[in-house]
Subunit: 160 residues, 2 copies
């Protein structure tokens, strides 16, 4: 019985994408909540401003899905956004791109071990999970920046 | 083909527990990294000190697994820890308890919709996922506290 439960299918590929897009909608609201100058210039404890963190998320999301899907790992090539509206425009473009590309990931690639970007070894599932966890982690950092600025962050539990 | 991939089993119950325990090991290191007085007294932007966040994680983890497992939702009953060593002792006790109880969750409960603690409606899977995400989110907040204190936080990617 324990074995049957251990192997129970808890999350399908569709669930992972929906969960990620829910988090990405919340992250988008966090980006929006920052005044433009604070997005690029404010931080606490010598850490990176939230625009740098958003840029990190953008450089990870689609390249990771491409890599898991195809086995070819290529760095993100687009120019670094310099305004809030550019970040949001890129964000929305990636939302659509993820929705189009994620369902094309061959099922076996989620459990196959690969070396992401030639460096990080893990299953496709673990690499995608890392991207999501990394976004949650650094977004939590953004919540502190917003609070330190006296700005109410968006509700963590709202993902719609 | 797209449908087959959408339904691909990306995460088993065993994967979820391992993923969570990896995050819990990291959270434990973050708790340890705080000096005792800062754990209970330091914060940024009027937010809760990290001891309060750790206490929130402790009140969620086992009660959620119990609730998902049995359909009975009961608040955590133990006394609130007042020292770092008490928090860590509880943490380790819950690590063992989660390892014992998680594999006993009946497979169908992961997809069954329930109302956690009579309030939050979602599948068992979503409720457990929420507990993990909430821990990652608030731990990210703890990283800012540590940096603001001039303390190097543990590496995010190390989960062993």
């Amino acid at each position: 019985m324990a074995t049957a439960t251990a192997e129970a299918n808890v999350q399908t590929a569709k669930d992972v994408l929906e969960h990620w897009q829910g988090h990405r909608r919340l992250t988008r609201r966090v980006i929006e909540a920052f005044p433009e100058d604070k997005l690029f210039g404010f931080s606490v404890g010598g850490m990176r401003p939230f625009a740098e963190l958003a840029w990190e998320f953008l450089r990870m999301a689609v390249p990771i899905v491409d890599g898991v899907s195809t086995g070819k790992w290529e760095e993100y090539k687009g120019p670094k956004p310099t305004t809030k509206s550019e970040i949001l425009r890129l964000w929305d473009a990636q939302t659509a791109e993820l929705n189009a590309k994620f369902p094309q990931i061959p099922a076996h690639r989620f459990s196959e071990v690969d070396k992401a970007f030639g460096q990080w070894e893990g299953t496709g599932k673990a690499t995608i999970q890392y991207a999501i966890d990394n976004e949650i982690h650094h977004r939590g950092q953004g919540y502190v920046y917003l609070r330190a600025l006296g700005i109410e962050p968006p509700a963590f539990w709202e993902r719609g």
